[in-house]
């Protein structure tokens, strides 16, 4: 090897292990990126909401003459959803020990999730009866947009939960799949208190 100012010849000793390394399982990594996008999606909606709220004429929010949101009842519902998230974390840890043990906390999580969505459905019917609609002004529009988008995510999450539950019963669920589901559901659960704080309070 003749040096004279040239870069020295790079001779890397070949990596003796020579195997593919998965830093994070595929399903979990894909879900992580997806959840990142979703966080930006909700960040866009919330910041639009905050800008509109801050530029209300007179600075009075919620605008006079609009129905009030059921703060206490929704607080109860928030607790239900948070418990659903806790149950999912328990299910994940049980799954790591033995998949069959995950069934019970998994079902608890799903039932609490369904409770949350149904409860919110009744709340919406009540609000619509009181005249809060998407076209009744920015208050109603943002309420149904943000809360509705979250509800849509919860419903899709429950659908995935049902599909994964079938896989779990068949013993066909792998750890990556369970991790991906847990991450998505935790995202849906933890997003809610932020929305509750911003939209309801």
């Amino acid at each position: 090897m003749d040096g004279d100012g040239q870069q020295p010849l790079r001779v890397d000793a070949p990596d003796m292990s020579m195997e593919q390394r998965q830093v994070v399982p595929n399903a979990l990594l894909g879900t992580m990126i997806f959840v990142g996008t979703e966080i930006m999606f909700f960040a866009g909606m919330i910041s639009a909401f905050l800008i509109s709220k801050a530029s209300t004429p007179g600075g009075i929010w919620p605008p006079p003459g609009q129905p009030r949101l059921p703060v206490e009842a929704t607080a109860l519902n928030t607790v239900a959803l948070l418990l659903s998230g806790v149950a999912m974390v328990v299910a994940y840890h049980q799954f790591k020990k033995s998949p069959s043990k995950a069934t019970a906390p998994f079902l608890v999580s799903a039932v609490l999730g369904v409770f949350f969505v149904v409860f919110q459905g009744f709340e919406w019917v009540g609000l619509l009866d009181h005249g809060l609609t998407m076209s009744s002004g920015p208050f109603g529009a943002f309420f149904f947009l943000i809360v509705g988008t979250h509800a849509l995510h919860a419903v899709i999450g429950l659908g995935i939960l049902a599909k994964v539950f079938v896989l779990l019963r068949q013993g066909a669920l792998n750890l990556g799949g369970m991790q991906a589901l847990t991450l998505y559901w935790i995202f849906v659960v933890l997003l809610w208190p932020i929305l509750y704080w911003q939209v309801y309070l």
Binding site: M1, L9, M18, Q20, I33, F34, F42, G44, A48, L145
Partner: protein
Amino acid sequence: MSATAHDDHHHGPTFAEIWLLQSTDHKMIGKQYMFIGMFMGLIGAYFAYAFRMQLAFPGVNVPGFGTVSPLEYNALVTNHGTIMIFWVAMPVLIAAFGNFLIPLMIGCDDMVFPRLNRLSVQIFLASAIVLIASFFVHNGGFGGAWTAYPPLSAKAEYNLTPLGSTLWLLAVVLEFAAFLIGGINFITTAMNARAPGMKALDVPMVVWMICIASLLFMASVGPLVAGAVMLLFDQVLGTGFFDPDKGGGPVLWQHLFWFFGHPEVYVVLLPACGITAEIITVFSRKKLFAYKTILYTVIGTGVLSFFVWAHHQFISGIDPRMANVFTITTVLISIPIAEMMFLFIATLYGGSIRFTTPMLWALSFIAEFLIGGVTGIFLGSSGADIYFHDTYFVLAHFHYTFFPIAIIGTFAALTFWFPKMFGRMMNDTLGKIHFWGTIIPFNFIFIPLFYLGAAGQHRRIYNFNHYPQLATPDLQALRVLATVSLLVMLSFQAVFIYNMLYSMFRGKKAPNNPWNANTLEWSCPSPPPHGNFGDELPNCYRGPYEYSVPGRDEDFWPQNLPN
């Protein structure tokens, strides 16, 4: 991954796999993206032809189109922009070459989520069909400019295209969904499926660039999708998110749009830079100058690109103090990009340069993009922008960025990887005729438009004869020059189409490694079979740019050779 799925696939691709998008093979999906993108590119070019004819010869009966009405003119310019960015630049540069190159370059048999990949191209085709369908509904396609500012885009009584604008919005959202799925696939594959021994800094630059571009896209697209849903509700449900009469704010849309819109420039720029890096190293037989610096520069550019968006809104009534901040960030972002261009030039310095067709494209990318970058400094300065805003100066500026990115980048990549994609060589002489026949007229189209913009010619005007100051003969002569140059440039594309189709079926058979390049895709057969590398996937022993290493007989050193 899909090792077992490959076993029953040793026959050639079936009819359904090719034409009904039923294939899960990343190479097939990449080609499908490319051909759909090129077809959309022809539509976009046809639109440009129609409205440029109207601008140069107002009221003329355009051959192949007919007379352009004001409503049609609006739809033409809007959809030209939309198509060229969302249905040409993104699918061809990121999706087509990302799909084709990433598994081959990192040495694996397919994407980690092959079925999601197939879903991605299917959604993309659906989005293209929805967009094309919007041209044929009542009153035609959407005409509120590709930026879709409300209230023009939100209210049918203003834009006169009640269904066209809704379909346009749906098509854009569908297209984003396709790229979201594709981007997740790219990043997961590049992180988890690299060949044994391939460390992060052994990854070819174009793979890095496509992955960083995908990350930028996914981090920026959320707020725009939120805005698009709100705009859709404004259109069809009568909400007032962007309607001042109902308590909304039209500038809000501009923030949501440009928060995505400016990173989007870098989303398409980075893959083109990566393609340029691959080509100039191969054809100057030199190591890429400052690999790590380029990489960190790109990451820095990506972060900074999230803090420049409001330079599109200097005259939208934003606070002047905010304009100052965005002027500074905008001028700052030209530093890393200029640095990257210098590093490319430093790569060329002292190399043994071979002027093949792909190399000409890569070099012209650097030269032409430079003009686009330099003219951007004027627009990023809030004071100068008050005059230049919405003039043809802006238009010429971003065509000097997007044309090198989308068109030059695509031609560079396609002529370079054509042997690997189709197993045959392209004709180099025809390639060079096409190159000069594209590059020279390109400059004759857009340099006059800089002058017109500096003379105060406003964008999105149907007929300049209605404005006495702009209807002078010398300005009209520049418009005619631009249009005639466009006709010349478009006619030279026939050379390319002939060359591509002829070479695909009749060209000289390509060897595995026609350019004596190092990266892993050149170690598998041309074209690669299903599963890419046969029974044994390659190992990677060194970085991708070991050219002209002293002490070796050959001037290249492929990544998969132990020594």
